[in-house]
């Protein structure tokens, strides 16, 4: 497995985020998902429309990671959060705030960042 080969869907999402036009996939019943999706896991339906993500989201939970795997060893300690953007929840690292100041409910924006090892990842910043 080469890290140079993109992951279709995931990297498309990061590209859209870097271009300032992030999207999600909306199923026929209004539920939202991140790519790649061909079948809605909730409804089993196969029709999606590409919808723009809201610009701000809200932190639902978070943790500060002190003991990391090799890919993020140089980033520790770092704060991972799950945030709600419209019908979609997204996992990323929250940057630009002191860790002890972050609380559930924090408003955040979404962007693309880079780990110390040079890998792209989803990052949140305070709105």
């Amino acid at each position: 497995m080469s890290d140079d080969v993109p992951d279709a869907g995931y990297d498309d999402f990061l590209d859209s985020l870097a271009d300032g036009e992030p999207f999600y996939l909306e199923g026929p019943e209004g539920d939202g998902w991140l790519p790649p999706r061909r079948i809605d896991p909730e409804t089993g339906l196969r029709e999606f429309t590409r919808e723009p993500l809201p610009e701000t989201g809200e932190v639902l939970t978070m943790t500060v990671t002190n003991v990391a795997g090799p890919s993020f060893a140089a980033d520790a300690p770092y704060l991972v959060a799950v945030a709600q953007f419209g019908p979609v929840r997204i996992t990323g690292q929250l940057r630009g705030m002191d860790h002890e100041d972050v609380e559930i409910g924090q408003e955040v924006t979404l962007g693309v960042g880079t780990s110390e090892a040079g890998e792209r990842l989803v990052v949140f910043e305070p709105a």
Partner: protein, 388 residues
């Protein structure tokens, strides 16, 4: 409901034995199970073997036939991989095989070698049980994933690190006399609360350790048990399994474990019992908070009520519903692929009276195992009963 007698069980000591291969660990557990059951390798019709990270730790895939070979068996052999639920699911496959009538004797179990890896390598290996795109690429570790759940639980229902600490203290106490446990030492609340933080809110003592170990059980049909005069004392009388979305972000709830709720409902229905009928349980406490999620999903407590059960003394060895009398994953150890069948081995001994903690639960007749994979994207629940 067809009973599946457990003719014999075996489990290696769990702990740091870095030089031992998983095939050797499984062979030791299987040897003990043969002796316990009064059966031999040639009696085995099929093997289901749980292993999670053999490719990472030992550069070994395709370990079903390798495990069967190590156990002296030439029969259909399949590796079952369901992360930390691998051997619990292997047990369930064995149960289904016996019930279908296609096999009379099935060897189930699992093994894992972990401590030959560095902490960082092991952390990365365990993280592969999470979603590779949407979690691992964001830096989610396994303790991190459960920490996300724990912090959401605190937000929705309340609870404190002190509540969680009492779970760690309880499970260490339960393991004190268990010679198969990795940690046979007691800890106090200061030890837990002042330990280095792994991922907030978890300190070191909130986390199960990296472990090496193997486990095995011989499941048989009632006909074979009777014909061969095996006289097993305990049978599996109910089994259930369920799945959930892989990534926490796609779950209906991050503070509950719906897959465990569904698996429990199936297992209870299969056994014809309810949560009130369970006397003791071995649950998947890979982290202290995981025990809370488990006892709530199993219906022992309402959502938000399980957090302080250990602190109130309700799940301790002399409580109303003793949980993890083996020491649990927390103190007994957590060699991932061996854990689920290890719970079966320990619970079988607890129920039939030959576990060091059996005297404390001498009247127990109904027990349950809860084995989870990932952040409970997989869960299997098995119900065990003393055979009358």
């Amino acid at each position: 409901m067809t009973r599946v007698p457990i003719a014999g069980v075996g489990m290696t000591a769990f702990g740091r034995q870095s030089e031992r291969t998983s095939r050797d660990l499984f062979a030791e557990a299987a040897s003990e199970a043969y002796d316990d059951a009064g059966l031999a390798p040639e009696d085995v019709d099929e093997v289901f073997y749980g292993n999670f990270m053999g490719e990472i730790a030992e550069r070994q895939g395709h370990s079903g036939p390798l495990a069967a070979e190590a156990a002296g068996v030439t029969a259909p052999a399949t590796r079952v991989e369901s992360a930390c639920a691998s051997s619990g699911v292997a047990v369930r496959h064995g149960v289904n095989r016996i019930r279908s009538g296609e096999a009379d004797v099935v060897l189930v179990g699992g093994a894992e070698r972990m401590t030959n890896l560095s902490t960082a390598e092991g952390t990365a290996g365990l993280a592969t049980a999470a979603d590779a795109l949407w979690e691992i690429k964001a830096g989610v570790t396994f303790p991190g994933a459960y920490s996300l759940m724990a912090n959401r639980y605190f937000h929705e229902y309340g609870g404190t690190r002190e509540d969680l600490a009492h779970i760690a203290i309880k499970n260490h106490d339960n393991a004190l006399e268990n010679d198969l446990a990795q940690f046979q030492r007691s800890i106090d609340i200061d030890d837990v609360l002042t330990a280095p933080t792994v991922c907030s809110p978890f300190g070191l003592y909130d986390c199960s350790p990296m472990s090496d170990g193997g486990s095995a059980a011989l499941l048989v049909s009632e006909a074979v048990a009777e014909d061969r005069g095996l006289g097993p004392d305990v049978a599996i009388v109910g089994s259930g399994q369920s799945s959930d979305r892989m990534a926490l972000q796609d779950r209906a709830s991050m503070a509950r474990t719906p897959a465990a709720e569904r698996a429990a409902e199936t297992a209870y229905g299969d056994a014809g019992i309810g949560p009130d009928d369970v006397d003791i349980a071995e649950v998947h406490d890979c982290f202290t908070a995981a025990e809370v999620f488990a006892i709530e999903a199993l219906g022992f407590y309402e959502a938000g009520e399980g957090i302080a059960a250990a602190r109130r003394g309700e799940t301790t060895i002399d409580g109303e519903l003793p949980i993890n009398l083996s020491g649990g994953l927390k103190a007994k150890g957590h060699p991932v692929g061996a854990t689920g069948c290890g719970q079966i081995s320990e619970l079988t001994k607890l129920l039939r009276g030959d576990h060091v903690n059996s005297p404390a639960v001498a009247d127990a007749e109904m027990g349950l195992t809860h084995n989870a994979g990932g952040t409970v994207a997989s869960c299997v629940v098995n119900v065990l009963e003393v055979m009358g």
